[in-house]
């Protein structure tokens, strides 16, 4: 080695990578916060007439101690909450001016305060149960979270799974049929992933083996799932509703001790087995993806399949396995519709939840925990709409129904922007 080497900076020390003070600052967050906060102040606080009160119920039976409802004056409450929002916007602006990022907690607190301001206004003169609102948020998040994890299993290995919708639908169908025939809700829970697998194996066959564009296959498989389940529903289930489409429902199971914690207990630990399976799935997947050999290889395949191939990892087999596994996870989520929610299969009953699951996956940055969080956000929007439609609030129901979709658009466009997913997702692997 020549002596010249010694004169170079020994370590890579990427000096040029240090963020420069000249770096462009993003004012997106403070501006969004400011506009929303101002809107809340005017619409929820200043414009409505005063004199009404809003009641938030936070108690539930069977907890260690009973929390009493609390009631606040609607107008004053909304004004105070809006001002908190504006204060957070100001704080964010101050942070950005100093060249920092506002911090994640700011967004979270802002969101809570803003939603509370909205609720204070919307249920003025009435009462809303926070516990049941959160409870149903979690329940409604179940298919979304399972779907999102089904999606991320595929995408982490480089296969975009647009067919989540189809997997949820066939899962719902399979669960209803098998649970009805066997009179066993557990048999239904086993049938759901198997039914999801049907769509998953077609997805793998066409995208991995035949390298057809993944988005196209996904979209077409969703059509196929709708056609197939609707056809079988109309020709087989409908004429035999009593025997083939009356599955037993999942019952809530209280977890001893934990279920008695106020607020948290009723929300998290008085749920069906499907919800507990979701907790398990999130934990297991998080560890598997980021702490095990399997996860490292899967992520390598999704980021740089050729590199994975050159160290002896079978790219195609990994993709097959992950797509199949993902479709089973999504299919399990489909059981929610028939065994957990409605109690029987109906045509196109998933109503686009699979696409929202896809959005939850992106919003959750392709991680199980993030997906769960995003699914909860969508579940909350959905639960809110259901609660408010019963309460006869001053917002048209159709506009509330739009909410989850609008939240998705804002989230994908504003919050996520150009997030980096697995680099090779969507790309078929061609070696020779």
């Amino acid at each position: 080695m020549s002596a010249a080497v010694d004169t170079r900076p020994a370590a890579p020390a990427p000096a040029a990578r240090v963020p420069s003070p000249l770096a462009r600052r993003s004012w997106k967050a403070p501006i969004t916060f400011g506009v929303l906060g101002l809107a809340a102040l005017v619409l929820f606080g200043l414009l409505p007439s005063g004199g009404k009160e809003t009641t938030f119920a936070i108690g539930a039976s069977g907890t260690w101690f009973h929390l009493t409802d609390f009631t606040i004056p609607s107008k004053a409450g909304a004004i105070v909450l809006s001002l908190i929002c504006l204060a957070l916007a100001g704080y964010a602006a101050w942070r950005v001016r100093d060249g920092h990022k506002p911090g994640r907690w700011v967004g979270a607190v802002f969101g809570v305060a803003w939603v509370l301001a909205f609720l204070t206004w919307a249920v003025a003169g009435k009462s809303v149960s926070i516990v049941s609102l959160l409870q149903s948020s979690l329940v409604l998040a179940v298919p979304l979270a399972f779907g999102a994890m089904g999606g991320l299993l595929g995408e982490r290995a480089g296969v975009v799974n647009i067919a989540i919708e189809g997997q949820l639908l066939t899962g719902a169908f399979g669960a209803a049929l098998v649970a009805s025939v066997t009179h066993s809700v557990y048999a239904g829970l086993i049938a759901a992933p198997v039914a999801g697998l049907l769509i998953g194996s077609l997805l793998a066959l066409f995208t991995v083996k035949y390298r057809v564009n993944q988005i196209i296959v996904g979209v077409v498989l969703n059509v196929l799932a709708v056609g197939l389940t609707s056809f079988l529903y109309a020709s087989v289930l409908k004429p035999n509703e009593a025997t083939l489409n009356s599955p037993p429902r999942l019952q809530a199971v209280s977890i001893p001790v934990l279920a008695n914690i106020p607020v948290v207990g009723p929300v998290l630990f008085r749920q069906t087995i499907l919800v507990y399976l979701l907790y398990v799935a999130v934990v297991v997947l998080t560890i598997s993806l980021f702490r095990t050999r399997w996860g490292l290889r899967v992520r390598a395949v999704g980021e740089h399949p050729l590199a994975a191939d050159t160290v002896g990892i079978n790219v195609q087999a990994t993709r097959w396995r992950n797509v199949l596994l993902g479709s089973m996870v999504a299919g399990l989520g489909g059981a929610f519709f028939t065994l957990g929610s409605v109690g029987k299969f109906a045509q196109e009953m998933t109503a686009g939840k699979g696409y929202i699951a896809l959005a939850a996956m992106i919003l959750g940055r392709w991680t199980p925990i993030g997906s769960l969080g995003a699914a909860l956000l969508f579940g909350f929007a959905n639960a809110l709409q259901l609660v408010l439609s019963v309460l006869d609030v001053p917002v048209p129901n159709q506009l509330m129904l739009m909410l989850p979709y609008l939240v998705t658009i804002v989230a994908v466009a504003g919050l996520v922007g150009r997030v980096r997913g697995p680099a090779a997702a969507g790309e078929p692997y061609v070696k020779e």
């Binding site: 647009i162 077409v220 056809f231 998705t408 466009a413 790309e427």
Partner: protein
């Protein structure tokens, strides 16, 4: 199909090792005329057209198996299969042929009809149903060829129908002008709706697949909300339907009262010609294709990617909106929550089936229209649920997208492989250019 459609413009490409420098134009050697004729035959049997036909046959066969499987007569015969196996086959054959022949009679030509008009009425009905499908599919195809997945044709159709319909029933303009303004209203509705997705994609990188899907639902609820307002409902009624569109805004019938076929069909033909010209003969289309094929090179060549993305989406949505307007001004005549049916989603499969080419889409649209119309007749005649049509449609597209699968099923040789004992994949030229 993958040679036409590339994933999103900002999607990264994987560095593939290139087989070193393919030498250009190394012809296989002197082919005799006999060879050439044989290879021509082989190409027809195994090439694009052949694969399309076989894919359709395959989808019909699978659909037939499903139809037979759920038929009560067939199930009954299956119960005593081992004593009289022929009964099962007869029952299955009957059930499938009855369903499919009902479909054909309902979609193309009814030989049992009393008059010629009645006999060909199914065909004109197919053309009527195909009209908005073709126009919307042309929109989807413009997106595909520019590398954008406009999954939101459904929402754009709804907006187009809403705006076009509103102009039709709420404004009262002179004959001629009224129809024109209503059509333009529909075009604007779709263009704006798709433009939102294009703008978000260009400005924030939000993937158009997610945004357009979400906008479908927003459009659906927006329409059902509008149908509760005074402006969109018949005064004094709380039915969620709008007043009928004025006579002056309706697309005139082409064949007289006995058929619903209207001038929308001519609009569809004009739209197909326009898209052909746009994509192959115009500077804008050149840029659309360039961005779809290689956004990086397009950017370096001075094409603004964001402007192009917005333009592509606006064009795509404008066509879908026109489809919505044609639907309401030609056949439906009044606005209801279900105005778009599943038009926007079907348009995606039609665009895929037509390989994003105007002529292909025109034919694929007629095929789909026929399946829909025939399916309804079949359901009424034989009790087979119309949903089987969706299954057949989805299968056709899947099979067409994977020619090797179709060839494998029918044991056909690969026309792209050199005629040798060993069949090997071609070198990846694509990886470099993507």
């Amino acid at each position: 199909m993958s040679d036409e459609i590339l994933p999103g413009a900002t999607s990264p490409t994987i560095g593939m090792p290139q087989p070193e420098a393919p030498t250009p134009g190394a012809p296989a050697g002197g082919a005799t005329s006999e060879d050439r004729a044989a290879s021509m035959l082989r190409r027809i049997a195994t090439g694009e057209i052949g694969v399309s036909v076989l894919a359709f046959v395959l989808a019909l066969v699978i659909g037939g198996i499903l139809i037979a499987a759920v038929d009560p007569d067939v199930t009954k015969a299956a119960g005593y299969f081992f004593s009289r196996p022929s009964d099962l086959l007869t029952a299955a054959w009957d059930s499938v042929t009855q369903a499919y022949s009902a479909m054909f009679k309902g979609a193309v030509f009814n030989p049992d009809a009393a008059t010629f008009q009645q006999a060909i009425r199914p065909l004109t009905e197919t053309m009527t149903v195909a009209t908005p499908l073709i126009i919307a599919a042309l929109g989807v195809a413009v997106g595909f060829r520019a590398g954008l997945f406009n999954i939101g044709a459904q929402g754009q159709v709804i907006l187009g129908a809403t705006l076009g319909g509103y102009v039709g029933f709420a404004w009262h303009l002179p004959v001629g002008l009224h129809l024109l303004v209503a059509l333009v209203g529909g075009i604007l509705g779709g263009a704006i709706w798709a433009g939102i997705a294009g703008f978000l994609r260009a400005r924030t990188g939000a993937h158009e697949v997610i945004v357009t899907i979400m906008l479908n639902y927003v459009a659906l609820y927006l329409l059902s909300y509008l149908l509760t307002t005074d402006a969109f409902t018949i005064p004094g009624s709380n039915q969620p339907t709008s007043p009928g569109v004025d006579e002056s805004a309706q697309l005139p019938l082409l064949l007289g009262d006995w058929s619903r076929l209207n001038a929308g069909f001519i609009v569809a033909i004009l739209a197909a010609v326009f898209v052909w010209w746009l994509m192959t003969r115009s500077v804008i289309g050149f840029r659309f294709r360039a961005v779809g094929s290689n956004p990086h090179a397009s950017r370096t060549a001075g094409v603004s990617i964001s402007t192009t993305i917005v333009l592509v989406m606006v064009t795509s949505g404008a066509l879908a909106g026109l489809a919505g307007a044609v639907q309401i001004l030609g056949t439906e005549k009044q606005l209801s929550a279900g105005i778009a049916g599943s038009l926007g989603f079907d348009a995606i499969t039609v665009a895929l089936l037509g390989r994003s080419r105007p002529l292909g889409i025109f034919l694929a649209g007629l095929l789909y229209g026929g399946l829909d119309v025939g399916g309804r007749v079949m359901e009424a005649a034989t009790g087979t649920p119309i949903d089987i049509v969706l299954v057949i449609q989805a299968l056709v597209v899947l099979f067409i997208a994977a020619p090797p699968l179709v060839r494998a099923i029918f044991h056909l040789p690969d026309p792209t492989a050199p005629r040798r004992a060993k069949v090997r994949p071609e070198p990846v030229v694509k990886g470099a250019s993507a």
